[in-house]
Symmetry: C6
Subunit: 239 residues, 6 copies
């Protein structure tokens, strides 16, 4: 099992061609990660592909969506050729659709129940898409911060390898919308649009900003979203 316990830090793959090669040695298991990007950069696809990596190896996974319907998530995955409906039938995948307003209001109880649920389900991987919608529901910054902080910590305690998705700030692709999650996560992936000054074709580019306890490339590499998901082009350059 790729995620088996052995000496040293266990390491796993994200499941994205090109990107996994940029991470030397893999992501430490049980990491809490975040993929930051603005609308359409492929965060949801990133999260689904990250789960498929474990699911197609008989792993177990949970996808929590605050943005789309459960049905839409399943369609998107199927569209990419990832048999998420089958995984669900095999009881290895749970796709949970939560209302961000309700989630914000009952985060304390969710926080209490989630660990048990995840453990009972035996999930290897978890995706929350997106943490920005949750954060948006709080008015007071300090309330938002402490709630998100506590939530992140409870995820870490469960020990499930987790990918959060987060919108980027309008004025900086390297910062999450509310500037909190990059503090709390062990790994930060930055997905951004690169728009040439001549207004031609917009490109997609990814950078690994941080992985605690891992050596990784610091290059910014182009990627594409195709019918089979995200591919990072390690050999190519943006310009």
């Amino acid at each position: 099992d790729e995620e088996s316990l052995d000496s040293d830090i266990d390491r796993v793959k994200i499941g994205i061609d090109g990107l996994d090669e940029m991470i030397l040695g893999g992501i430490p298991k049980r990491s809490l990660m975040v993929a930051i990007g603005s609308a359409g950069t492929g965060k949801t696809t990133f999260g689904l592909q990250f789960l498929d990596e474990a699911l197609r190896d008989d792993g177990r996974a949970v996808f929590i969506t605050l943005e789309q319907s459960r049905e839409a998530v399943l369609s998107t995955a199927e569209e990419k050729g990832w048999p998420f409906r089958r995984y669900v039938e095999e009881d290895r995948l749970a796709v949970v659709e939560l209302d961000p307003v309700e989630m914000a209001n009952s985060l304390a109880s969710i926080r209490n129940d989630l660990p048990e649920l995840i453990e009972e389900f035996g999930a290897d991987r978890l995706v929350l898409d997106s943490v920005s919608l949750l954060e948006m529901m709080y008015d007071h910054p300090s309330k938002r911060r402490s709630e998100v902080f506590d939530f992140a910590r409870s995820l870490k305690e469960v020990g499930v390898t987790t990918m959060l998705t987060s919108e980027a700030r309008e004025d900086s692709p390297y910062t999450s919308k509310h500037g909190i999650v990059e503090y709390l996560t062990d790994a930060v992936f930055v997905l951004q649009y690169v728009r040439p000054s001549n207004f031609r074709e917009t490109r997609l580019a990814i950078e690994i900003q941080k992985i605690r306890d891992a050596n990784h490339s610091r290059e910014t590499k182009p990627y594409e979203i195709t019918q089979s998901g995200i591919s990072v082009y390690r050999q190519a350059n943006i310009f």
Copy 2:
């Protein structure tokens, strides 16, 4: 019927020359979309043209305006050669003029009634022009967010293919005025002014920033608004 139900994801056309060719395979039916642009970039025209695409094929449509009078909307459409008055007479088009203040105050009940109304009317397409005026009526960001979020979700549940229009942020053409709708929509079209540094002629340019589950061009292409609506020039470049 272009929007008939068959296997896979049903796909429809926007109805704008040049732009539809930039979307490979069409927009998934029942998508919730947004056209973002500052004043005069053609958002209202975009919305009308989007409805005409269905209406001239015997479809049914609803146009909700928060900015103009019902009469002004009809005139504008007629002026572009789209027989909206006839569609109205044929009971295939409803043009609804809402007061944004009132709409904001009674959004909960609108949200409740809208699905039924749309279904009874049998609308294939819906336009809300503009969501920014609705958003502007809320003082508290979190209230605004949760109201708009719930409204967007109820639109998705109805399953009508919907185009919202939204003002852009002053400092970024790629972000909606209040930074919410691009989270909630399946597709984002960015309409922007490109002003050359020599202060000559301002150009109009469109980019498809996002379409969930669709392959699309990432080029920024010039477009014009003429007496017959919007035309995107796929072969041309901005500079």
Copy 3:
């Protein structure tokens, strides 16, 4: 009569040389327009000249000033060679000096009375100089928005061809001070300073950002304010 009712959309001239030629076919009558510019760009002059266009053709007009005294407005017009005192004597022009604080406090009643007053007076054109001073008097953005929105709508309902003047945002010549009126108006004129990087002579430049239902130039053209008002130089370029 230049503003007579005939089939199609009636169209009128602004009354500014060079600018009217940039508007192909004229401004739809009964439009609500705004001229956006920072201090000294000539907004008040623009408004006066717009009224003179109708007044010298035996039309009737109302000028509401929140910034200057009635006397100062008349002097400025006379100074430009527009016989505003005579128009007043002929009862074809009303120059109304309002206190912005009071106007803000009693906007609801003004809104109620204005239509009747304008209709009784039979005004063809109306100028409000400036809407920014009115907007400034509200503390709460949503109150400001809904008040200005309702006011704009009541002006539209009256059907008088109206020019608002508005200060520009400090950081963007294309945006009104409070970012509301460009949503509500049918036409947006942008008056701006162009300062060369060598700190020589500051130029004045105008762009038509938007005219609903009209074809217009998208060029930015130099203009000057002289003893006879504003002239736009269609053949010249800024640089």
Copy 4:
């Protein structure tokens, strides 16, 4: 008398070499003006010199300072060779030192009394140095705006030719600190630092942004502050 009443608009000189030549025909008497600039650009000097122009012609003037002591103002003027102590002795000049906090608190009564006081004193010119310190004392923007607005109007009603000084916004030399006075004044002078990119010598530059009812140069010209006050170099360029 340079400021005598004759037909047409009476016009006066500022009293600054070079600058007066940039104003074609002079400043309309009874104008309310503002000199905007950041710390050290010479606003106080500008105001003193503006008063001296009238005082040395047997005129009468009032200088209200919110920033310095009465004594400091007199010293500064004397230092520049303007015999302000003599003017005071001759009862033609009043230098009034006000506490901005107190002034803010009792602005309504000052507003009531000022006209009478100015008229009794028979002042031809008035300087308020600086309006920014007054504005700073209000917490609520709308309170600040309406107070400053009313104060400006009462000054206009008195009919005394007035120069306000105002700090500039940190991020724009063309905007006053609180963005109000340029709305209310008939003339705006912009004093700014021009710092070359090679970090050599900082220059002082002045631009006339606006004079209602006057033709004026739109050039930005260098100026210096010397022992005899401000001189604008009409023939020179910044770079």
Copy 5:
């Protein structure tokens, strides 16, 4: 002992190759320092390495973490080859995991107890990772400032050589997230990403912005994080 008391100011090393050579004469003992950088720039590694410098010389140290678990901190250190578990067993190192919310709520009592605890433990060095998470938990800026100020002062009074870590502001690598700690500290290290305009490889660069009472290089130098921690390349340049 490298930290022994002798005449003049005692000086110590940070423990980072290349960086210590940039500090001429060493850091004054008992300094309160801060390492500012955004996520992934190596602040935590910096702090651990700073402690290891003392620990491997039989010193005593405390590491307070607000971001990670105690276990994660120990793993990270071990991963870098610093025997933190052994130090803990030898009772020379205390790794304390605090909840930022709780820490914020009980900062007064922590402040009271900390000095005694540190003195009893006999710590030579202390790291707080990160002060930004603590700061984030306060809503009111003045409360945040006075709490952090008092906390910093109590650390200074204890006299333990301390390294705080702090996130950088999104828009300036030279400023801490909340703009307070650089006021209160004796030394400021700036860790930043340098991203070339061609979107190739992101580099890490360090600058010593301030060390009270010490001569130091003002160069910005590249550094790397490897399996053995941080190395600064004094001989290399960023570009």
Copy 6:
């Protein structure tokens, strides 16, 4: 005595080589000055050196520190070769350590007592290091402004030649952190970092932005902080 009273305005030296030559004729005695700069630009050193100029000539001085301990201030001065401990013993220097929170809370009484204390002590010069820490303790801008304003005025009334130090705004080296003190002071010194675009060596540069009633260079000149304090290089250029 360098600060003796004679006709005209008495003038004193700052005590910094190179800088004093940039001030033609010296600083008017009893001026209230401010040195603005970000962390590490040498503001504290500037203040100490300014006092030493008077102290080594048998003058008397007060140094109020809100940032460091009394002991740290004395060490720093001694380290630079300024015998501050001796001055203290000779009762010619008072180094006062104040808690900014307490100072903010009791500013009214401090304001009342300070004049008498300073006069009794017979101080020629006073430094407050830094006014930013005091300002930071107020939540409400208008409270902050009026308190700082009153404090500045009481300092002016005492007539002691005073240097405040102030942090710069993050986004502008020419503006103090809270944008108040440059309004209230007679002289403004700007200390800034100049970072070359190739990320090599950061330089220190000083500009005299303002000295009321004095002629001064407007050049920006490099300076260094060495073991003997600050030296400005009048002959050198930044680039």
